[in-house]
Amino acid sequence: MKTFTHINADSVAEAVKLLAQYQGRAKLNAGGTDLLGVLKDRILPDYPEALINIKTIPELSGVAEDEKTITIGALTILADLSAAPLIEKYCPLLKEAVDTVAAPQIRNVATIGGNLCQDTRCWYYRYPDEIGGMIQCLRKGGKTCPAVVGENQYHAIMGAKKCFAVSPSDTAVALTALDATVTLAGGSGTRTLPVEELYTPLGNVLNPDELVTAIYIPKPAPAAKQNFIKFTLRKPIDFAIVSVASLTTLEQGICTAARIVLGAVAYTPVRAREAEKFLTGKELTEETASEAAELALAGAKPLAKNAYKLEIAKTLVKRALLGQ
């Protein structure tokens, strides 16, 4: 790996100050399991001058609760999150999602904030510099997305206009289903936004001097049934082809509230709002679940090689709703 200046940040304020001083030429490092791959393969046009280690900031990890909310520090390690009794009690679908991330060794160092902010796995974007040179795709300021006419079997099936890369974060899908918000700290103060609004077609909304500090989950109704399903080619150390998170509240067989979120189908987790609306007030059966699955994928526009993702997504929606 090409070298860089390494700085340990002792507080959020210091990290923000350093980011501002380096004006985009520094990267934050938490678990490092995504960033080190990016640096080793030299996939980005600009190599960072400095790495700012934020693991040294003490107050950013842990899970806490108050009456209505679960708070997760951005530096909470995935393995610790999975083992947290509060998560198991209130957000089993988040635990399920965390347990599908990568492998045990990675979950022992990777953080929830890093999982949300990880870069896409698009194989054109990630193409290593050492094998014939980096690919200057649209996401890196180039003119075209090679996936549109290329090998696009793992790319977006909805919502893409220019870049067809998908958000690889499993926890973002779970957190969107849980209606979670994320707090960003930066030079001009802090702001809080829904997890699904964290992502943009070419990356995320973080300014160069911002970092994720905390995630807030409103405690779901105890009766709500939570499910997370991730479809991968191999079970461990793989990214989702499609994932689905669902939260349904049933009263005497009738669905009174539903949240359905699709992952790895677009640049951001996608709420299936039409399907949610359709299900509300109806009995949850094989038929209504199938209908909801059709509605969830109604707006999809697959590329030449990824129409199969539609069928997988529909099946996962149905299975998640029926708890199969």
Partner: protein, 174 residues
């Protein structure tokens, strides 16, 4: 070019590897540890502990697994500079260095012929060690889950499962 922050950081770091404390000078010179060195690189190239293997070097194969404060981690995806103050155990740290006796888990791998080419074996043994330290009598499924991050292209997995479970059964009743 804007002025860079003046903060000088950690010119010397120490980490404990297999019980021995090592101090490293940070820098780009000979015998120094660069901020960009991974723990796997430092273990192999600086300390000569070549039992830890580097295969994919991208966090996808598990060959470089070591224990950090008792937990299985990938040494290729950690910066040495960020491991300051940590306790690292590598495959060389198992068993009894005084007598040269190997660990029960290592013996079990031999007894079960739980490898072919052996390149992935140090990583698998370290993942299994982390599991047994935490859970001395795991089920077969728990062993599978704990070793999910270790790949073996010779398909030694079935023998590995037997070896780990057998080592667990022979564990001291503590």
């Amino acid at each position: 070019m804007t002025s860079m922050p003046e903060k000088t950081t950690h010119s010397i770091i120490t980490l404990t590897v297999n019980g021995d404390e090592h101090a490293f000078i940070l820098g780009e010179g000979a015998h120094q540890v660069s901020p960009s060195h991974t723990l796997a690189h430092t273990l192999r190239e600086t300390l000569g502990l070549t039992g830890t293997k580097i295969s994919c070097d991208r966090g996808a194969c598990g060959c470089c697994t070591v224990l950090m404060d008792g937990k299985a981690v990938l040494s290729c995806m950690l910066l040495t500079v960020e491991c300051a103050g940590k306790q690292i155990t590598t495959i060389e740290g198992l068993g009894d260095p005084a007598t040269g006796a190997i660990d029960r888990l290592q013996q079990s791998f031999i007894d079960h012929t739980a490898f072919q080419c052996g390149f992935c074996t140090p990583g698998i043994i370290m993942s299994a060690k982390a599991l047994l330290n935490q859970n001395p009598s795991p089920t077969r499924e728990e062993v599978q889950a704990a070793l999910a991050g270790n790949f073996c292209r010779c398909i030694s997995h079935y023998h590995v499962l037997d070896a780990v479970l057998d080592a667990a059964q022979k564990g001291d009743p503590e």
